[in-house]
Amino acid sequence: MALAPNMPKSWRAETKPHKFCPGCGHGLVLKALGECIDELNIQDRVVFGCDIGCSLLSWDFFNVDSIQTHHGRTTPVLTGVKRARPDRICIAYMGDGGGYAIGSQHLVNAASRNEKITVILVNNCVYGMTGGQMAPTTLPGMKTETSPYGRDVELTGNPTRGPEMVAAITPPSAYVARGTVANLRQLKKMIKKALETQMNGTGFSFVEALSLCPTNWRTNAKETWGFVEKEMSQFFKVGEIKVPESKEGK
């Protein structure tokens, strides 16, 4: 089957169209990732791990070896692969619940140990797969299935700013950034730099992507983009937070 012209080479055509809801951001992030894999020419070396969350739908998304792990456990599984086979390029793909709630201890410890893996985390402000409960990233006042009267930060704390946290506990050789599906060119650059950081063997690399969940936000197309471009981007500042010092500079 011939690939549509805009489909990354590393995508698995047989599993397209993908199974995310219409208007979902996961497909956009995976497109940026696919293009990075193509451009870096690493399809033969990548081991891809997806979490349980809507990211699980990507278990057969690429023509690369892929592991569907448990909710929150993608970081340690891929760390295990990397430690045993340092020549592999390990990508852990997860949601905000998977990375910042149940898997937060793994994220913190992998970052602290400066594991040479790449974590890509999709921030959609909710638990998508389980039907729209509050996530660590749910915005103040935002209504979800478990914050039906709006998120009360007095009771539940403030939304997690993951990249800022990861940046604070990683050494200068790590790469940390927050991108958004509203700026795919920038997001792609970030993912590419993250993968290069891993390939250079300098340190941990982490990219959070602000994403879309129209299904659980219950928004139409216009409101969906408005939410990510305004509300989310206001609270979660988009940009590079930590860039490895260049080797030459040492």
Binding site: L56, Q68, T130, G131, Q133, E145, P148, Y149
Partner: protein, 361 residues
Amino acid sequence: MADKPVKGEKRFFVTGNEVVAWAALAANAEIMYGYPITPQNEVMHYWTRLAPKYGRRFLQTEDEISAGFTTVGGVLSGARAFTATAGPGNTLMQESMSMAEMMQIPTVVVVQQRGGPSTGTVIYSQQEVTMTCFGGNGEGFRVVYSTGSHQELYDYVIKAFNTAWKYRIPTFVLGDGYQAKMRESLIMYDPEERGIQMVPTEKIVGASGVPGVDREPKHLRNTYNTEEELYKVVGDLAKHYWQVAPEIEEYEEFDCADAETVIVAHGVVTRAAQGAVKELREQGKKVGHFRPITLRPFPKKAMEKAIQKAKEILVVESAEGQLAKIVKAEIYGSDIPITGYFRPGMGITAEEIVEYILNKG
């Protein structure tokens, strides 16, 4: 604060998850701790909508390890506290429930079983029997009620709080994805109006007075220095457990008195088993059904009585022999052959059981 959540007796037609939330409210549960997982989510969804109206509280934790341990903390401080989970979440709660077993902490956990192992399915199974009865590095000092209808979900969630607090044993209500998601009619009631007294809770820590002055301080532990010390503690736990077990055990039996074939099934599968017995009896077959309601402690004596005339025992379950393993251990010494109709993660109908029994001759 609004008054009682449930007044008088009212018929409802709702999902099992909604039933669990209402039952916990009616039982005066003060706080729920939880983490989202299908097919349990709506327990939390209803609880978070209803609880503030009745002055109750909720905490969404970062995972089920935390949900289990926050429940332990809530219970130790004297709150009638509970959590609800399923599948991989149940796995993560085993650590805290092991602590609850050791330290006699009256936690209540509602489990809506889903398909496994691993993430499996979010739909239905009876594959969490072994884990719920015997999980953790413990001895299974737990009470596990396996419900088969929405009415039972309501009744046993209320009862679970009383069993837990009366006997100081961690108590589980074992439902499943079908019961969680299905709509069915039931009668909700205020326990008190039915003469059910809620067993009072106790501030195991944090009671009033200055510790060491007005009262003894509480020094609770789960670590021991010598084999003898631990042996004594576990021995006391065992003694307590087996002493109260006969009061806790519950079961139902259907046409077992003269039955040559006894079907053993629990939870929602009891319905299929009851249907099969009815059908096979109409065909003149001597078939009966024994249903343990408490999987822990298991109603061993009642089962032994139910199989007195049996020439064979057929264990029917939506798992690969988890109930069968318990049954075999419990009736050890009997020479009645035991076989199984095992459908891990699959629903089971009465027709299927009838056909299986007729075909196997």
